[in-house]
């Protein structure tokens, strides 16, 4: 659905994007992460035709964004990182204005606006002025605006930034609903744990270069990240550490208070071995929890933290 080929963008002497190659399949939620100034927003702005690339190509549903700008805009909904509002308009008027801007017929506008208000749970706010809404509601209104012309692709730049936990959960649920509706969603966020929960694919960008693109499973494989297991024993913790350290699959064993953190060489199923060794050593196990690699750990390992 979205494809970029050697996409490059220069701002004067600054290079924001370098030969970015990206593929996002239809119906996917693609999480786009990177440090500040990595080029996420620039990529998104190019994809929604607000910026022209210095070189390279980008396609949305096979349409070249530089040649078919209007057609691309028809099928893309863009929510910028800082959402602008017309503070002197009411919520209903605001959405109807954008419906008119997307050339939706006058007689259809009312039902469409009501539909997106219902989807975003803002039905009761239609007659409120936009600036009287809370930040969370304004973000939902932003999503409602993005959906007004029923686009196939949604490009959302930090849609959950500055929101409280409840509002973030609501936005996340809404995104899941949109995925069920068949939308392709490209989303950037600094809250990596959230992306991990909702995204099918992840792209990590740094200094304008894509350093990784794939599923979480692929991240683990690509990084060769070790699996971790957290063990809690009822007695003789020191003896347990000695036994576990002797295992050939174990790379590291550390005591972290009540728990023992065991780092394994590869992503392999060694829970059974650990349990057998401990039981044979007359150590009572309280709990044994495999620890998955988190996105933020992968992010830290894959990026160097260098910004332009």
């Amino acid at each position: 659905m979205i494809e970029t080929k050697r996409l490059t963008k220069h701002y004067g002497n600054l290079t924001a994007l370098v030969d970015l190659d990206l593929v996002i399949e239809a119906g996917d939620i693609f999480g786009f992460i990177g440090p500040n100034g990595a080029g996420k927003t620039t990529t998104m702005r190019i994809l929604v035709t607000l910026l022209e690339p210095s070189s390279g190509q980008a396609f949305i549903d096979g349409l070249d964004i530089t040649k078919k700008g209007k057609e691309v805009r028809r099928m893309v909904g863009y929510m910028p990182d800082f959402m602008g509002i017309y503070d002197d308009l009411k919520v209903f008027e605001y959405l109807e204005f954008f419906a008119a801007a997307f050339s939706i017929e006058h007689k259809k506008r009312k039902s469409i606006v009501e539909g997106v208000l219902e989807l975003t749970d803002l039905q009761s706010k239609g007659s409120f002025t936009v600036d009287s809404l809370s930040r969370g509601m304004q973000q939902r209104l932003g999503l409602a605006r993005v959906l007004i012309h029923d686009p196939k692709v949604l490009v959302l730049d930090e849609p959950a930034s500055g929101l409280d936990p409840r509002a973030r959960i609501e936005i996340r649920e809404l995104l899941r609903e949109l995925k069920r509706m068949g939308k392709t969603i490209m989303i950037s966020s600094h809250i990596l744990s959230e992306l991990e929960e909702i995204c099918d694919h992840i792209g990590i960008i740094e200094q304008g270069r894509l350093v990784f693109s794939g599923t979480m499973e692929e991240i683990r494989q690509r990084m060769g990240v070790q699996s971790k297991v957290r063990v809690q024993v009822a007695n003789n913790q020191q003896r347990a550490i000695e036994l576990l350290s002797a295992l050939p699959e174990v790379q590291d064993v550390q005591s972290t208070g009540r728990y023992i953190a065991v780092t394994l060489d590869k992503d392999q199923n060694t829970d059974g071995i650990i349990a057998r060794v401990l039981v044979n050593g007359d150590i009572d196990i309280v709990s044994l929890e495999p620890q998955q690699v988190k996105l933020d750990e992968a992010f830290l390992q894959l990026t160097k933290g260098i910004v332009h």
């Binding site: 035709t49 909904g77 863009y78 009411k90 008027e93 801007a101 006058h106 600036d131």
Partner: protein, 573 residues
């Protein structure tokens, strides 16, 4: 006790306490802003152009060529140059003070730095004085640039130093007053261009108050004396008239120190009011509410576009369906501009004023060539209206795109199917529509005035030049159309080029003045070369000037509109 009182009093009158660290910070920041240096350069450039224009005009007026004749005219030229410079300083300083202080407080509030300032030991008076004095310091620096020029021209003679000192005193007093007022308005309005528009209207009204002075010069009434003391324009006119030999302005009581004292007192009052409003804002901010001072509904509706008020959430007004061009619809969603009815009301009021003017003119036989009072009044009325319409139209065009940039809604707009052409046209049409009553009155008033003049002069037996009158009417109408195209084009261009509304407004108004100066040059040379030298007919020269102005305005306006359309997608962020 006494020691404590003396200590606090001495602390209060200490200049460094009065201004606090704000003054220092403002000066530091302004020294890093390129636009301040550009402003000084432009000021100097315009001053030089005006002096050159005044010099050449004075030379063209004369017919003598001998050295003795030239020397004898030096005093006259010197006087006109000094008058021109002092009036230029007087007007420029006030406009710049209004512009420079238009966002002084609102910017702090918008950026959220006001709350931070309020948590420090700096008090509101220090903030207000620090900001005012730092801007005044820059203005005084700029005024000082022209002092050497005045000193050189003074050698020509023809004018007393008293006049220069008096005019500078009035200029300074007026600048402090206008700056204080602008700052006060910036505590009320979050949009600086609104402050600038209000201040411009205020200055135009003050200018219009000079009208009575033209006709009641010899009056010794208390009213006239009061006007002279409270209106800087009137005071300046008084001082200027007194500088001419044989002036008849002596009968009305006018005291320069009293005028300066009154202006200074008014400024102090406004400054304290500004400090009070700031303090109230801080309290609101800390307490998180302004529920204790809810505005009445009419005032809330009137000011909803200007105040940063979140109290307008109630669903009292109906939802307006979007009809026609969405951009045009949105632009007219503001109070007092959204409906045909509001425009019709303004138009009706202006028409009534015009009708009263014409009726009184007929009643007092004012349209005969023998009594040019009608022409004077009409010129004042139309020039006042023209100034307001010009500033409003240019300002609305200049802020139309920058408002979207400031509100970060431009990317949303450009992400829709709307083409740049549709956006520019919608905004341009809205700027025209919102000022339509004034332009319509100017368009209708001119032909009616000329027809009345012609008819009246025919009945009184004075020959009239029908052909030229009708030419003036046609070219006058075309001139208004071309002028509107130019104003909107200029404003829209800067609106697409620049990021902030204040910068766009300043650039538009500055360029407007520049264009008018250039046009004056063009007129001067055209008048001299094409009109007088080739045909010897002054009427032909005037008509030629009108044609050139119309073509110039229309072509430049269209080109700028085209450039605005082209640039819209280039400077989005």
């Amino acid at each position: 006790m006494a020691v404590a009182l003396i200590s606090s009093f001495s602390r209060f009158i200490n200049p460094s306490w009065l201004t606090g660290p704000i003054f220092d910070k403002e000066l530091r920041v302004s020294s890093r802003r390129r636009r301040n240096y550009v402003l000084r350069s432009v000021y100097l450039l315009v001053l030089i152009i005006l002096v050159a224009a005044a010099w050449f005009t004075a030379l063209l007026r004369g017919s003598g060529t001998s050295v003795a004749w030239q020397v004898s005219r030096m005093a006259e030229v010197g006087r006109s140059l000094v008058l021109m410079i002092t009036w230029f300083q007087f007007l420029t300083a006030q406009v710049l003070a209004a512009v420079m202080l238009s966002n002084s407080i609102s910017d702090e509030i918008r950026r959220g730095t006001m709350d931070v300032l309020m948590t420090t030991p700096i008090n509101c008076v220090q903030i207000v004085l620090g900001k005012l004095l730092s801007k005044l310091f820059q203005l005084i620096l700029m005024l000082a640039v022209s002092l050497p020029l005045l000193a050189v021209i003074r050698v020509f003679g023809g004018i007393q130093w008293d006049y220069v000192v008096s005019s500078l005193s009035i200029t300074l007093a007026a600048t402090v007053f206008v700056g204080s007022l602008s700052m006060f308005l910036s505590t009320k309005f979050r949009r600086s261009y609104l402050v600038i528009l209000i201040m411009t209207t205020f200055l135009v009204v003050a200018y219009l108050l000079m009208i009575p002075l033209s006709f009641f010069r010899n009056s010794s009434s208390v009213l006239m004396s009061v006007i002279l003391h409270i209106n800087p324009f009137a005071a300046m006119l008084q001082v200027t008239s007194a500088a001419f030999p044989g002036s008849r302005m002596g009968t009305t009581f006018f005291s320069l120190p009293l005028h300066c004292l009154l202006m200074g007192g008014a400024s102090m009052f406004i400054l304290f009011a500004s400090a009070f409003r700031m303090r109230r804002h801080a309290l609101d901010s800390f307490l998180g509410t302004n529920a204790g001072r809810k505005l009445p509904i009419w005032k809330r509706n009137f000011m909803s576009s200007a105040f940063k008020s979140k109290s307008s959430f109630s669903a009292t007004s109906p939802i307006r369906p979007v009809t026609g061009s969405p951009i045009f619809w949105k632009e007219l969603s503001r109070p007092f501009s959204k409906s045909l009815r509001s425009n019709a009301i303004v138009l009706g009021i202006l028409l009534l004023l015009l009708f009263i003017f014409y009726y009184l003119g007929y009643l007092f036989n004012a349209f005969s060539a023998a009594t040019p009072v009608a022409m004077v009044f009409y010129s004042m009325f139309t020039s006042g209206l023209w100034m307001i319409a010009t500033i409003r139209t240019a300002a609305m065009a200049a802020t139309s795109i920058t408002k979207e940039k400031e509100a970060r809604t431009l990317p949303l707009l450009l992400g829709t199917l709307l083409e740049p052409k549709q956006i520019i046209h919608g905004k341009a049409l809205a700027a025209l529509w919102r000022n339509a009553p004034a332009w319509l009155i100017l368009a209708l008033g001119t032909p009616v005035f000329y027809i009345l003049m012609t008819t009246r002069q025919k009945t009184t037996g004075i020959s009239s030049l029908d052909f030229y009158y009708y030419s003036y009417i046609i070219f006058g109408l075309l001139g208004i159309v071309a002028n509107v195209i130019f104003l909107i084009g200029l404003g829209m261009y800067f609106s697409t080029r620049l990021k902030s509304s204040t910068a766009a407004l300043m650039a538009t108004i500055g360029s407007l003045l520049g264009f008018y100066v250039i046009r004056r040059f063009m007129f001067m040379f055209l008048f001299a070369i094409l009109g007088v030298m080739m045909t010897g007919n002054i009427q032909v020269a005037l008509i030629l000037n009108q044609i050139v102005s119309i073509v110039f305005n229309a072509v430049i306006g269209m080109v700028l509109l085209w450039r605005a359309k082209y640039r819209l997608r280039r400077d989005i962020f």
